[in-house]
């Protein structure tokens, strides 16, 4: 039987020691599987749902909560991922204290450039997922062009990709 307090604490711990995205997965996987509160299958499904559902990818834990413990699990998971990012207020306050040093501008600039690299690597990872083929590059290129036009919303782009995906890949 799932203990809601322990369940919440495990999700909170995983989120507190993660840095966005899926980095809280290993901790949750270890803990929930260990207790028998989740199956391996739940994780794969939750990640897949998190990738297409609205909001940050990190909301994949909400689907994990739903799949393992129903609406209560989803609510507890949402609460657990809501708390740690509030620490950004402390980060911003700390930054304000060092902001006047002359090296801070260069430091932030280095980070901003690395962010571009990180995003590039995320694109790469998505395009290299198992089951992806060269046609995926065309989907990505088309989506990029539509996003760059600023005329189509992401949901419109993805709906179009789904329809073309149906036509191209359906066996």
């Amino acid at each position: 039987v799932i203990n809601p307090l322990v369940y919440f604490a495990l999700f909170l711990k995983a989120s507190l020691f993660s840095t966005g995205g899926l980095s809280n997965l290993p901790s949750l996987h270890q803990d929930l599987i260990g207790l028998g509160w989740a199956a391996d299958r739940d994780f794969g499904e939750a990640v897949a749902i998190g990738q297409i559902s609205p909001g940050p990818n990190g909301l994949w834990v909400v689907s994990l909560g739903y799949l393992t413990y129903g609406y209560a699990g989803a609510a507890l998971a949402l609460l657990a991922v809501l708390v740690p990012p509030l620490l950004v207020l402390a980060v911003a306050a700390a930054f304000a204290r060092i902001a006047r040093h002359r090296w801070v501008d260069g430091l932030m600039r280095g980070i901003s450039l690395a962010v571009v690299g990180v995003m590039g690597s995320v694109c790469w990872t998505i395009l290299r997922q198992p089951g992806a083929d060269w046609k995926g590059l065309l989907f990505a290129g088309g989506a990029f062009a539509l996003a760059a036009s600023r005329r189509v919303s992401p949901i419109g782009i993805l709906a179009l990709a789904a329809l073309i995906g149906l036509a191209v890949y359906r066996r």
């Binding site: 897949a48 297409i52 559902s53 909001g55 090296w103 571009v116 690299g117 998505i126």
Partner: protein, 199 residues
């Protein structure tokens, strides 16, 4: 610098974030794109530089970076109430849709049609992410271009080097960000300029 007269009411802020929360199918890439379109491009409440700066702070915060970004934008535009409205607006509807999708997924997970559609959707999210990366690149590229060849080469080296460190060497993201921060502070700081303006 945001124009105080244009500051949204709490209710308006809530409405904007609900729209983002409901439309951002495709996960983080779509969410990023919509947040930028709304607050930077459409309403100009934040500049591209400010947006990049806020995002950098979020990278040093535990948990979901986009939630931290929501907190910072909410605070800047509406204080504590702005934070609450922004978080509720982004997360409640999108979490509800996520639950519905999880329930629906159970029913259709073996359908060939769903797999085929997803095979189109998932690379499309990579394309959207690429657009987000370009938007982050623009202010950096403009600045480097204005400063000259050295800055352009350095900037390209840090960005491409970071991607290579992640893809080829498989280094952790935090380590790559830390190295880029040190490199940036070393290479972009005008160490020899007189320090008069820095007390």
């Amino acid at each position: 610098v945001n124009r105080a007269a244009d500051r949204p009411t709490t209710l308006a802020l809530l409405r904007i974030w609900v729209q983002i929360g409901l439309q951002s199918f495709g996960g983080g890439a779509s969410t990023q794109l919509l947040i930028r379109r709304e607050f930077v491009d459409r309403r100009a409440w934040l500049s591209a530089d400010q947006f990049g700066m806020l995002w950098n702070l979020c990278l040093f915060t535990p948990g979901i970076n986009l939630v931290a970004l929501t907190v910072l934008i909410g605070r800047q535009l509406g204080g504590i109430r702005g934070i609450a409205a922004s978080l509720a607006g982004l997360l409640l509807p999108s979490a509800a849709v996520t639950c519905l999708l999880a329930a629906a997924y159970k029913a259709v997970q073996h359908s060939a049609a769903v797999h085929a559609a997803l095979q189109g959707v998932i690379p499309a999210t990579a394309g959207i992410m690429a657009m987000v990366a370009v938007a982050f690149t623009q202010p950096l590229a403009r600045r480097a271009h204005a400063e000259g060849t050295r800055a352009v080469v350095l900037s390209a080296a840090v960005a491409l080097g970071s991607a290579a460190a992640l893809i080829v060497a498989g280094l952790p993201v935090a380590l790559v960000l830390g190295m880029a921060a040190i490199l940036g502070a070393g290479a972009f700081t005008a160490w020899r300029r007189p320090a008069a303006e820095y007390p």
